[in-house]
Amino acid sequence: MASSPALIPDDAEARFVHRLRQRDEQAFNELVLAFEERIFRLVWRMVGRRDEAEDMTQEVFVQVFKAIDQFRGDSKLGTWVYRIAVNLCKNRAKYHSRRHRDGHYDLEGSEARATHERAEGLTSGETSRPDHLVLGYQVEQIVQMCLRDMDPDFREVLVLRDVECLSYEEIGAITGLPEGTVKSRLHRARATLQAAVESSLGETIR
């Protein structure tokens, strides 16, 4: 799945931002409708809870509405919206870590399970044997658990790059990190995730 934060053509974006700054409610409705699905997907993958993701997605757009005057146009509007979403997710993760909340990670739940049937590889979807099916499901659980426990800074680059398929440049614009730092952090994040998964599986996977 290739998704890019840039959904609005360059020439139209300036006019659109101007309407947003004028607090044009219709323009803001268009913004929400254009980005709601992508932001919801991103937030859900970052926080892991559907109900919390829905709440935070709404909060992202409220923050956009409040802070649109601070948008200087240095980046794409979509990149700026992504940045707000990622920062909100990180702040929420820090809040939860301070409260020692044991968040219930339900990415594997409900609708997600249905589509895992289509998943390939080590996931449970393509396996026909019951033991492989169980093993695949366990691996999914483990990967999700390891991702949940990962440092939010690592998780954000992993999700943005490996799930949202954004470019390094876009990730840098969203996170405010230099491109080289994004690459190195992504490398470390993947290594950390793999080590965590291997540790949880109790064996080295080559």
């Binding site: 409610e25 709404q58 990415l107 998943a119 590889g121 080590l122 990967v143 799930v163 996977i205």
Partner: protein
């Protein structure tokens, strides 16, 4: 882990593949129905701006909408009056009913006389 439960080689490749294929396969799931975000966003902005944006004229009002209540009551009274005015001609007149009570024949009460018993002694003079 024995051979039966060992992931296949393609599975292993996917897990060790640094391009995040496994991560995508786990997380790149169809999330189903995306919730209706717009309504919630509008409601939050309306509440936090005290009705300045996305105002509906009543949900964020700080005073009781007395005029709304009054107008609603007057409107409902007008509806009732109009309905009565329309339906009244169809009501017609009530049918004449003879309320005179039917004559009642009063019969004299019959006195109960016990019959003479055959075993009773006759009172022959």
């Amino acid at each position: 882990m024995n051979a039966e439960s060992t992931p296949s080689s393609s599975d292993e490749r996917r897990l060790s593949n640094p391009d995040g294929a496994l991560l995508r396969s786990v997380l790149d799931a169809d999330i189903g129905q995306v919730p209706d975000v717009l309504d919630g966003v509008q409601r939050r902005i309306r509440q936090r701006s005290a009705g300045r944006f996305y105002a509906d004229g009543w949900s964020t009002s700080r005073h009781a909408p007395t005029s709304v209540y009054l107008l609603t009551a007057l409107f409902m009274l007008a509806i009732c009056a109009l309905t009565y005015a329309i339906l009244r001609p169809f009501a017609g007149q009530p049918a004449e009913t003879d309320l005179t009570p039917a004559p009642v024949e009063v019969l004299a009460p019959q006195l109960h006389r016990p019959e003479a018993s055959p075993s009773a002694p006759s009172s022959t003079p």
